[in-house]
């Protein structure tokens, strides 16, 4: 599904943030990415969801070597990935419903086909009564739930989440993790960047830890 080989990443002429990163995410796996703030977790996720190019090394995504893939082929890969951004990145002029619908719109689906799914999904994340509200009128936790619903609505092959439970109370956090686990059960590969030890210890999954730009496998043996 995802394979990194000796990947290094630096911004401009700055220091290397990620060094010799090598790991694989198998199809249907559930992985936590941990590490102190500034360790490069978000940068690593950006490399996976094709927001950045590595400075060196090889990345393979969905069995495609990114080094030889044409730029025009990248959008199709991106549409197979659901991302929960740390800063949510919701469109303020659209309602919660329309924000969640965005990936389906980009996939060319019609609203009549997906409206019921979105209503159910928003109800599941506790926003059934607020689906017509726009993000500026939602709390941080509510915005985060909209962002998560948007990431999962198209049932992506790969789900990446950057601190997805950082702004919600434990009950909602547990519910969101259930959503991820359920998606994972149906075949979605999940990678979650988090500091939340309770979450990591209560959810079955492998842990990769970033320390000083290097990746260390914490559970289940060394990085593959």
């Amino acid at each position: 599904m995802v394979r990194f080989e000796n990947v290094g990443m630096r911004y401009g002429a700055g220091p290397e943030i990620l060094r010799d990163i090598t790991f694989t995410l198998d199809p249907g796996s559930f992985t936590f990415l941990t590490g102190p703030s500034g360790a490069g977790k978000s940068t690593l996720l950006k490399l996976v969801f094709l927001a950045e190019k590595p400075s060196r090394g090889l990345i393979s995504l969905f069995d495609h070597d990114l080094a030889v893939l044409k730029r025009i082929d990248l959008p199709a890969l991106r549409r197979r990935i659901g991302v929960v951004f740390q800063e949510f990145r919701l469109l303020d002029h659209l309602s919660a419903f329309d924000n969640v619908a965005l990936p389906l719109r980009l996939a060319g689906r019609y609203e009549a086909d997906y409206a019921k799914d979105i209503e159910e999904l928003l109800a599941w994340v506790g926003l059934g009564q607020r689906m017509h509200n726009k993000p500026p009128t939602l709390s941080g936790g509510e915005q985060q739930r909209v962002a998560i619903a948007r990431a999962v609505v198209a049932k992506p092959d790969l789900l990446l989440a950057d601190e997805p439970t950082g702004n919600v109370d434990p009950e909602i956090g547990a519910r969101l993790i259930r959503l991820f686990v359920e998606l994972n059960r149906f075949g979605t590969t999940v990678m979650i960047a988090t500091h939340d030890r309770v979450l990591i210890e209560s959810t079955p999954g492998r842990e990769l830890r970033l320390v000083d730009g290097h990746l260390v496998e914490m559970l289940g043996g060394p990085p593959q």
């Binding site: 094709l50 469109l91 980009l106 609203e111 009549a112 506790g126 359920e182």
Partner: protein, 315 residues
Amino acid sequence: MNTGGPPQIEGTRQQSRQSRTWALRTRWRILPRDGGAAPLDVVIGVMAFLAALALGGVMIADRMAMSWQGGLTGQLTVQVLPQDGTVPPDQVTAALALLRSTDGVVSAAPLSDEENLELVAPWLGSDASLLDLPFPTLIEVELAPGANVDVAALDTALRAAAPNSVLDDHRRWLERLRSTANTVVLGAAGVLMLIGAATVATVAFATRAGLAAHRDIVELLHLMGAQDRFIARAFERHHLIGTALAASVGAAMAMGVFLAAGGLEEIGVASVAFLPPLGLRLEELPWLLTVPAAAAIIAWGTARFSVLSALRERY
């Protein structure tokens, strides 16, 4: 809150009444309506107003040049000069006979005393008497449209038939008029080009400013897998519609100005003497719509070029 299991996102789809409501809803916009862009719309509207005024000015100047030239082409004037204080009547008769028998001449007639008095009135006053003056007889000659009269041969024949006659084909005056008219039209076209260039720059700047304000949306759509063309189309449509509306308001205001000028002339507030009417005719007004059309095309092109360029710089 729903307390059951997670929803089957792509499960059975039974449309609820609410779903159908969503289906009937107007298509939503990926880009916001931009309340903050109002000042830029005002600038585009003002520039379109000025460009439409300049375009109307060019049309009026062109019409003026055509009317000046059209008023003098197709005409000749023959003067039979006085000799010892009086004009020889036999020479007038001979000149008229020659002119009327010339191919291409539709009519040849001497001006009446009243018409002669009208000509000199601006200098001598309306109570002047031609009897006190050695005034020539003026013969107005009208040529058939497109007639190719050999003016030099006619002049020679006239001098033979009526030695006191002088033929004036208005060539000098026409050339000066033509030169003046061309200068006026070129000047108006120059002003139109300057205002047009400023309008182009304004529309392009406003479009780029709009793109900069929506950079986060471009970024998000890109990361979610939108094709470059999809993103560019959203921006093209957004800026094309916004600019067309703003520029249409400016062009409509310019139309109002020209209609008002025409209306004032209709009710007797005359334009400056020797200048043509400053209003545009109804059939000329639609030309002003080329201004919002051009502005919309510029906005469309700028948005497309800018978005695609920005996206090509991205991974």
